[in-house]
């Protein structure tokens, strides 16, 4: 076994941002989302992730703004701690250790120094019996504090944070679980419970799903599984409570929210329609339909101008209060499974997989951002559970990225499978894929595999699809020959249909040069010539069916690798048509690196997955790692790197040119990194410290750089020798602070302004020193400007002047040199003065 010193598995991108409701800061500038083990801070104006608050060691289960200080936020986690953050700077202030896993966190302004958390207090840790506990946060200066002062408020509460809410600024707390609504009045220290019947006559389900309290009135709104919303009033008596019912949703109400003034109630559910009810005039409602996916949480900004809805497709939509979508923060969409394989778009170098229903998503791994969604199905998606709709099940790119093939499938009970094969052509003008050909019912049964011919020299592109109906079909782009109408573009048509002994084909694979096609029919691998469609040879390793099939690349292209159901990895040599070697391992996934000879095999071993990286020609693996992750790895991809790594260590060389990404059972996107890479990442992240409250404009970058440089100068201590810059000059101050409309014309002011900037030079020695200093600082400045690539006129002048001063100095007369320096000094000081004032 090979040592693997510095390679480790890390989470990479695509984290979930819709797990808990997003928290909006008081100034509506930032959005805090619990995302895995960290809290992400998004800017609402640019939709970019500003920074991550890292520190928790388990899933973050809740985030709230500290009621007494709106610049700090609490977060709770399943690791049993509550942490206090300064989210503008991303600093961890304090950690309160509770000791039990926390499911949600609540706080109100009227309870200073207390947070309410939902946790299981019992020693046996039965997860179904949860309590709402008030935690008195001890005041101490330490970073790590243990919070011991706990008092139970309510027992048997729901783990869903939407089921507990404070009312009227903390006068009471409402909690729902199952069919019970419980209201705890802090003033009376008394809890009232209200029960609903299991179901009424029509068999509807009355279970509570969420709760919201009116900010001004004594009114609690509850959402129910049957789509009803009940408004409870008069609940501070046991008997005389009343409720009214609103019904628009046809399935469960997943989130409710009152606007801060209490004039409107917002509700959302699986229909993906945001409904706005007018409070006290509930028959007046407004709708915002087709938000894309089921609404899971709704939040309103403190001033009521923005609504935030998080959706089941890992998206947060920002909606203006006039019900207009203004922006969306979209994360990597992860459904229950990746039906299409992981793929790389050869053009954008983005990861492609199925995303929203009926869409393919293009996800940039470098920027950890969703680039765009390609609507494959092009049908209105009906947001209703239990409805079978078209899903993208297969997709493939050709080598150049010009063509994309997608298969969509709809399976209905008791009906035939509906299949569509679509071929998309990349359009240079719109920079997206345009539908070229739709083939309805390309096969009679489900398609099991699909691949493009990857050779680049071939004139015609070819696609092969295998299906459970026992056939594989080759599709080819028609030549222009027999299309008589000029406007007709070439389209795809079937070129060949092949079968073998009426067995079911499973995998298909083209050789590196595209001359051979290998199709596995259960335990038999058939090799076909793509030029003549002749069956060349058959290879077999009974008794189990072939699971994966892969041709070697580059120098190993004579090898064909396959894995079988009875834990064999076989390598056939196609020159001799014989088995070269085989080894016994339970390979769940085999894939080839497209730009090197390396192949990766994920093997199942005692509940976890091992990784082997090898070359088909060599018996020894290049790299192996035991227990990469628990569970089975079903999807993985080699992504080519943008810039090569220069790692000379043998075990990590395979990561030099490409990176291996894989999806675990729990749909986490992981990758392998080396130490070299991590170091580089750390270095680059340190450079990127920018004040995030200011928008990033080229002008801002320019100013920011100069400010840094100036402060650097000040530290170096040489600047004390420099002549004082006229930043304190009264004239400039006056000029810059007077409103523009009361100033005289610019032409009149200009000469005066320049005069005021001029510094009378008396001592030549001092001047000399200063000039040298200037030259140095200019050099720096020039470098920084090059980095920025922002075109200003100054750097063009500066090298000229320096050149003259350094090399052509002897040729010039003293007076000329002085004149030159004077000009240079003038220029510089004016600029710096402007910057500083």
């Amino acid at each position: 076994m090979v040592e693997h010193g510095d390679i480790r598995v890390v989470h990479r991108g695509g984290s979930k941002i819709n797990f808990r409701e997003p928290v909006i800061t008081n100034d509506s500038k930032f959005l805090l989302c619990a995302s895995g083990e960290c809290v992400k801070v998004f800017s609402t104006s640019t939709e970019e992730c500003v920074h991550d608050l890292r520190g928790h060691t388990d899933l973050v289960t809740g985030v709230i703004i500290k009621p007494s200080n709106h610049l700090q936020a609490y977060s709770c986690s399943a690791d049993g701690t509550v942490r206090l953050w300064d989210f503008t700077d991303g600093i961890l202030i304090k950690t309160y250790v509770i000791g039990h896993p926390i499911y949600s966190i609540h706080a109100s302004a009227s309870h200073e120094g207390v947070v309410f958390v939902v946790t299981s207090m019992h020693a046996d840790k039965r997860p179904d019996l949860l309590q709402l506990v008030a935690v008195h946060l001890p005041r101490s200066g330490d970073q790590m504090v243990e919070a011991r002062e706990l008092s139970a408020v309510l027992s048997d509460v729901s783990s869903n944070p939407l089921a507990i809410v404070f009312g009227r600024g903390g006068e009471y707390i409402a909690s729902t679980k199952g069919l019970k609504l419980e209201v705890y009045l802090f003033r009376k220290q008394k809890a009232y419970s209200f029960f609903l019947k299991e179901d009424n006559k029509k068999g509807r389900r009355n279970t509570f799903t969420c709760v919201a309290c009116h900010p001004k009135d004594d009114c609690i709104a509850t959402g129910h599984e049957d789509g009803k919303i009940r408004l409870w009033r008069n609940f501070n008596q046991k008997k005389e409570y009343t409720y009214s019912t609103l019904h628009w949703h046809h399935s469960a109400v997943s989130s409710l929210c009152f606007t801060p003034e209490g004039t409107n109630l917002l509700s959302g559910g699986i229909e993906s329609v945001l409904v706005q009810w007018r409070y006290n005039q509930e028959d007046q409602r407004e709708f915002l339909p087709r938000l894309g996916a089921a609404i899971t949480h709704i939040t309103v900004s403190p001033d009521g101008s923005l609504f935030f809805t998080s959706h089941s497709d890992n998206k947060i939509t920002i909606i203006q209060s006039c019900l207009k979508v203004s922006a969306a923060i979209q994360g990597l969409v992860k459904g229950e499974s990746v039906t299409t394989d992981l793929m790389m778009d050869p053009r954008s170098k983005s990861l492609v997989l199925n995303g929203k229903p009926g869409h393919l998503q293009f996800y940039s791994l470098q920027r950890d951002k969703l680039l765009y969604n390609l609507d494959v199905v092009q049908q209105e998606y009906i947001h209703e559970s239990g409805l079978q709709q078209f899903e993208v099940v297969k997709a493939a790119f050709d080598a150049s990225g010009n063509w994309l093939a997608t298969v969509e499938e709809r399976k209905q009970k008791g009906a035939e499978v509906e299949l569509n094969l679509k071929l998309w052509e990349f359009d240079e003008q719109t920079q997206s894929f345009v539908l070229n050909t739709t083939i309805s019912a390309p096969h009679e049964a489900q398609i099991t595999g699909m691949c493009f011919c990857h050779s680049t020299d071939n004139q015609t592109t070819m696609l092969v699809s295998t299906s459970k109906d026992g056939h594989f079909k080759a599709w080819q782009l028609d030549a222009q020959a027999h299309t008589e109408a000029a406007d007709e573009r070439p389209s795809w048509s079937c070129d060949f249909v092949g079968a073998y002994h009426s067995l079911v084909p499973e995998c298909c694979c083209f050789s590196a040069d595209g001359s051979l096609l290998a199709v596995s029919f259960q335990e038999v691998v058939t090799v076909w010539s793509t030029a003549s469609w002749e069956l060349l040879t058959t290879l077999s390793q009974p008794p189990k069916a072939i699971r994966n099939l892969c041709f070697g690349r580059l120098s190993c292209s004579k090898y064909l690798l396959g894995t079988t159901g009875n834990n064999l990895l076989c390598c056939w040599n196609l020159l001799t048509c014989s088995l070269e070697w085989s080894t016994s391992m339970d390979v769940s996934l085999l894939l080839a690196d497209p730009i090197s000879e390396n192949m990766a095999a994920f093997c199942r071993q005692a509940g976890s997955t091992d990784l082997f990286v090898f070359k088909p020609s060599e018996p020894r693996p290049l790299f192996s790692q035991k227990a990469v992750c628990p569970g089975k790895v079903t999807r993985a991809i080699f992504a080519p790197r943008e810039e090569m790594l220069e790692s000379c260590e043998e075990s990590s060389q395979w990561l030099n040119r490409s990176q291996l990404y894989f999806l675990t059972q729990h749909m986490d996107l992981m990758t392998f990194t080396t130490k070299v890479e991590e170091d580089r990442l750390m270095a680059s992240s340190k450079q990127l410290v920018i004040d995030d409250s200011v928008a990033m404009t080229p002008f801002y970058l320019l100013l920011g750089k100069h400010r840094q440089q100036d402060s650097g100068d000040a530290q170096s201590g040489i600047s004390t020798e420099r002549t004082p810059l006229p930043q304190g000059s009264v004239a400039i101050k006056e000029l810059l602070q007077t409103p523009a409309h009361v100033l005289p014309s610019t032409s009149f002011l200009c000469s005066m302004f320049v005069q005021s900037l001029l510094i009378s030079v008396t001592e030549p020695r001092e001047e000399n020193k200063a000039t040298e200093e200037e030259m140095e600082s200019e050099k720096e400045e020039e470098d920084s400007e090059e980095e920025m690539e922002s075109g200003t006129t100054r750097p063009e002048q500066a090298p000229l002047g320096r050149h003259a001063a350094e090399s052509a100095a002897p040729a010039l007369t003293k007076a000329q040199v002085r004149e030159l320096r004077r000009v240079k000094k003038l220029d510089r000081s004016w600029f710096a003065g402007l910057l500083d004032s």
């Binding site: 049908q379 070129d495 249909v497 092949g498």
Partner: protein, 528 residues
């Protein structure tokens, strides 16, 4: 908020022939004028001069029709027996015709009585023609001879006795007064030179020759006989160029159209085929009611005249440009249309401030209903008379969309007699269409499930259901027959394709699986 995605209407490939320039050209004729003659029409000849009258030889008469008249403008009836081969001279003044009684008659087009009678043949004369100098007549007869006659003297100039069977066709050269070609039932074509006493060229057609045609350049000769149309290169000494077998009965007549660009052949199989004379491929096909004996094409393809065995003369005139435009042109726009396009082509000036208006998405009626989840109304709009008659694919697409939304049952239920009648009518009309069958079969099943309890209450609906049942039974029988044919074909193919051995290596025992039968077929798949 994404916009509503309208229902996807499946585009089906058009079945049948492809629309080419030729199909458009040859389809651009009016409905044919049918004229009943007394007997089988054996010959049609167009006058070479201006009004382009045509002479129709049928039974014992030769009629001359004007270009647009339904009645003959002139009739020659002075034949003792069946007349044959009435032909105009190149100036359109004289007409010659043979007869069953072996006498050849020459008429003045304006007169009635024969100007000259040429007697000498001993049997029926089927071929007559003027030579290019207009002073001589060529005749061919069933007595195996062909003769040249002098018109002014009505005397026989020469007799050629080389054929060994009936002579039934012949042409004279338009460029050389001495050359003519005859075709005979002895399968040969012979070219004669009047300056010599014997044939100068002989070609073997292989079948009794029915008709001959010379290209205007006279370099190529086309002959029809049996099921074949053959083209000969006269300049290469009668070398056969092309042999075409596109008819399934004897080809009886040939004609050139579009200034020699197209060749037409008519046959006893009731078809007229149009060939491209550059590649000799069939570009168009006409169907007629009866076996065709004669065919004539007016200059510039202004009209196609076809004579058939049942004595019906069919005349098709070309549509004038206005007429053809009327049918293919767009529908007249409503006056309100102008209101909507007002200002559409206005280009903003440089310093204009442009206020962009949100583009309103236009939705079809059924989509508007679908957007509001009004499923029954959506189905109603899709079943409107115009839509279900003219565009069944839209109706089917809406039904499919409803099925996808899981609300088809709701949309189908609760209908009254009238709307159920329309629905069933639509099903009966389109159920067996292979494009729509998968969708409509489930719909039909659902309808039967929903309305099972009310069967027998409405005679109208019951009658429709019986019709549906009848239709399905017929379709099942039809499918059975098709499967039988498919089975037969499979057996035939299996026995005709030689089995090929697949190379397999004997090195590794595990690879020693037998050869595979690779079934190779190229199905026609619908691709849009």
């Amino acid at each position: 908020m994404a916009s509503f995605k309208p229902t996807k209407i499946q585009v089906y490939p058009k079945l049948g022939e492809k629309v080419t320039q030729d199909t458009l050209y040859w389809k651009n004729y009016k409905a044919p004028v049918q004229i009943k003659e007394f007997g089988a029409i054996t010959n049609i000849d167009f006058s070479p001069v201006a009004p382009h009258n045509f002479a129709v030889t049928a039974f014992t008469r030769v009629h001359i029709y004007g270009p647009f008249s339904q009645e003959p403008v002139k009739t020659f009836t002075r034949f003792k027996d069946t007349a044959y081969s009435g032909r105009f001279r190149s100036d359109g003044q004289l007409l010659v015709a043979g007869c069953e009684d072996s006498v050849v008659r020459l008429f003045d087009v304006s007169g009635k009585v024969a100007l000259r009678m040429f007697k000498g043949h001993t049997k029926a004369v089927h071929v007559t023609d003027f030579t290019s100098d207009s002073y001589q007549i060529l005749t061919g007869s069933d007595d195996y001879t062909c003769r040249l006659w002098d018109i002014p003297n009505a005397t026989e100039l020469n007799t050629y006795q080389e054929h060994t069977d009936y002579i039934r066709c012949g042409v004279t050269s338009k460029l050389n007064r001495d050359l003519f070609i005859t075709g005979s039932y002895d399968h040969t074509l012979k070219m004669f030179d009047a300056r010599l006493d014997k044939s100068v060229m002989t070609m073997d057609h292989g079948h009794p020759v029915e008709n001959l045609l010379l290209y205007p350049s006279e370099g190529l000769l086309v002959s029809a006989g049996g099921r074949y149309v053959k083209v000969w290169d006269l300049l290469k000494g009668g070398q056969p160029l092309v042999s075409m077998k596109n008819h399934h009965k004897t080809v009886t007549c040939l004609s050139l159209g579009s200034n020699g660009q197209r060749l037409l052949s008519a046959s006893l199989d009731r078809h007229v085929k149009v060939y491209n004379t550059t590649n000799y491929k069939v570009v168009h096909n006409f169907d007629y009611a009866a076996s065709i004996l004669s065919l004539g094409l007016a200059p510039d393809d202004e009209s196609i005249v076809v004579g058939m065995t049942n004595g019906i003369l069919s005349v098709k005139h070309r549509k004038s440009p206005e007429e053809s435009k009327e049918t293919s042109g767009q529908q007249r726009r409503k006056p309100s249309y102008r209101v909507f396009v007002k200002g559409k082509n206005y280009v903003p000036k440089q310093d204009d401030y442009l206020v962009s208006k949100p583009v309103k998405q236009h939705l079809a009626k059924y989509d508007k209903q679908l957007k509001r989840f009004n499923v029954s109304k959506a189905l109603d709009t899709a079943l409107e008379t115009w839509l279900r008659r003219r565009k069944p694919e839209i109706t089917v697409a809406v039904i499919k969309e409803l099925d996808r939304r899981g609300t088809l049952k709701n949309a189908l239920a609760g209908r009254d007699e009238q709307s159920l009648f329309h629905l069933l009518n639509f099903l009966i009309g389109n159920l067996v269409d292979p494009r729509f069958a998968p969708v409509l079969v489930t719909t039909a099943e659902m309808i039967l499930d929903i309305y099972r309890s009310v069967i027998g209450q409405s005679p109208v609906v019951d009658r429709q259901l019986l019709r549906l049942q009848d239709l399905l039974e017929r379709e099942i029988d039809y499918q059975k027959d098709l499967l039988e044919v498919l089975g037969m074909l499979d057996t035939m193919f299996a026995s005709s394709i030689p089995r090929k051995e697949v190379p397999c290596s004997g090195i590794s025992r595990s690879n020693g699986l037998g050869q595979g039968e690779a079934s190779t077929s190229r199905p026609q798949l619908q691709a849009t």
